[in-house]
Symmetry: C2
Subunit: 307 residues, 2 copies
């Protein structure tokens, strides 16, 4: 019997559960709407039902749950994600473990996607990778030798809160001039409303830019510039083998990536120019499930060793 | 016979060689002026003589040489350090190895100090540490589980070139608004000249501030603020267990550290406030020798394993 692991991707919109083998292949997959307003008890019940469903014919060894932050990955507690209203200090791993009976681990959703991409996507075969998701918000994950670097407090790769432009625009509970306030989908849409007078969000700004609108082009240039500064700062901090860019905004990767690479080259030491590898994510919306499953597997195996 | 390792700290001012045991204790130590103008052949000859001297009664297993960047640690080549004039692509590890006959490894000097502090100084017993040296320039080193994270191109922890204030002051070959241009001894001295009209350098600015000079206090406040932004960005990138601050400017640590900790707390997520550990270096000018020796030891042991 081959070794299989369950990965869960709990988002504000969709709840997705997969059964993954040791090569990152998804053997079973289920997706339902999260219906976030249903509350945590109902959502966790549905999650448990999906988990039972995908593991029916298999003897899965562990479960990894990827969930939006803030969370406490070490104790398995969902603290209070903005897009899961009513969740407050929910000990999700205990609740699921009680019902399923195999070890359950919690991981930040962007961290999970980072591990999935590192092992089986854009970082495959590399010693280290830094994953960045540019979506409504900006998050990420730093992976070395196929292990997540979560950090002392679990705040590693919370790069949306990196300060890019001190005193710049303020966004949610983040620093003024944070990366998320300057380069996220939310910020591009905000600039579109303010400077183009449009209400169609990020995609409309990109459409205007494709049509040659100079203001739309400037909005995108500024967002990509902020992202380039963030990436250059990460080069001069940890110098990973590869940056992997995912998230909804990267649907416009044909416009973003060439500009981003050029700008990053302008912000790194001369000896690094042309040498910084920036790729787009390969697993797309499966990265989170695969990564959560692999993280759960690693944690379960480590714990068995320690016993 | 106990295991001993040689560490070399080659600076623009002093050339220092030590014999270090596996507990980081310095059993032998020699220091001479580098006399950088003597040229690389003479300096390497003197280095070899010092190495032979400290290892006389011992059977050292490896040599680690810490040297200012830019350098290529993987091939053991000193590229062109600004404070070692005339050095250009010098294969220092080959030259020393030929004379001494034990394995020689090259490491960035700030990286070496970081490893020394991580193993036997401010990071002792911690899983991860980020060392920052604030001196004429700003450099550092990131250590996990007592191993240096050097990065894909050897540019990890080149944090002097992090962009803190886009479009800010320019310093050497670095980005406009780099950390080094805003928070190094050089930048504090520059502000002292421009805004206080003094020529005594960094120490004089700190003396003016101690005496209550408001402009001097503002200069230091701005430098510490830039450093706090850099540290907060590192928290949101890798979230190390501890930040260790060394370098000449940290002689004023009583003035810097309380202000720095307060400012860092203002730039991190609410959940992290009061939890970021920032300590001063413990080994001072011995950190580089001890760290270089330990790095050489680790590399030599890894290479033996691979054979």
């Amino acid at each position: 019997m081959e070794n299989v692991y369950i990965g869960v991707d709990l988002g504000g919109t969709n709840l997705r559960v997969g059964l993954v083998d040791q090569n990152g292949q998804m053997l079973q997959y289920k997706q339902i709407p999260t219906e976030a307003e249903a509350g945590y008890e109902t959502i966790i019940e549905r999650m448990i039902a999906l988990i039972k469903d995908v593991k029916k014919a298999y003897s899965a060894k562990s479960i990894g749950i990827g969930c939006p932050g803030p969370l406490n990955p070490f104790d398995g507690i969902v603290v209070s994600p903005p897009n899961l209203p009513g969740w407050k200090d929910i000990p999700i791993t205990k609740l699921v473990e009680k019902e399923i009976g195999i070890p359950v681990y919690l991981v930040n959703d962007a961290n999970a996607a980072a591990l999935g991409e590192a092992m089986f996507g854009g970082g495959h075969g590399k010693d280290s990778s830094f994953y960045i998701t540019v979506s409504t918000g900006i998050g990420g994950g730093y992976v070395q030798n196929n292990r997540l670097i979560q950090g002392e407090h679990g705040y590693s790769a919370e790069i949306g809160n990196m300060i890019i432009k001190p005193g710049g625009p303020k966004h949610a509970n983040m620093n003024a001039g944070s990366l998320e306030a300057l380069a996220s989908g939310t910020s591009i849409a905000r600039e579109g409303r303010e400077r183009l007078g449009i209400s169609g969000g990020t995609e409309e700004v990109f459409r205007y830019a494709e049509e040659g609108d100079q203001m739309a082009i400037a909005i995108i240039d500024e967002a990509v510039d902020a992202l380039a500064i963030g990436i250059a700062n990460l080069v001069h901090s940890v110098d990973p083998d590869v940056f992997i860019l995912g998230g909804g905004v990267m649907k416009a990767k044909e416009m973003i990536l060439p500009l981003l690479r050029e700008k990053v080259d302008g912000y790194v030491y001369e000896g690094l120019r042309g040498k910084i590898t920036i790729e787009s994510a390969k697993l797309h919306d499966k990265a989170g499930i695969v990564g959560a499953a692999m993280h759960g597997r690693q944690k379960a195996e480590n714990n068995r060793k320690e016993e």
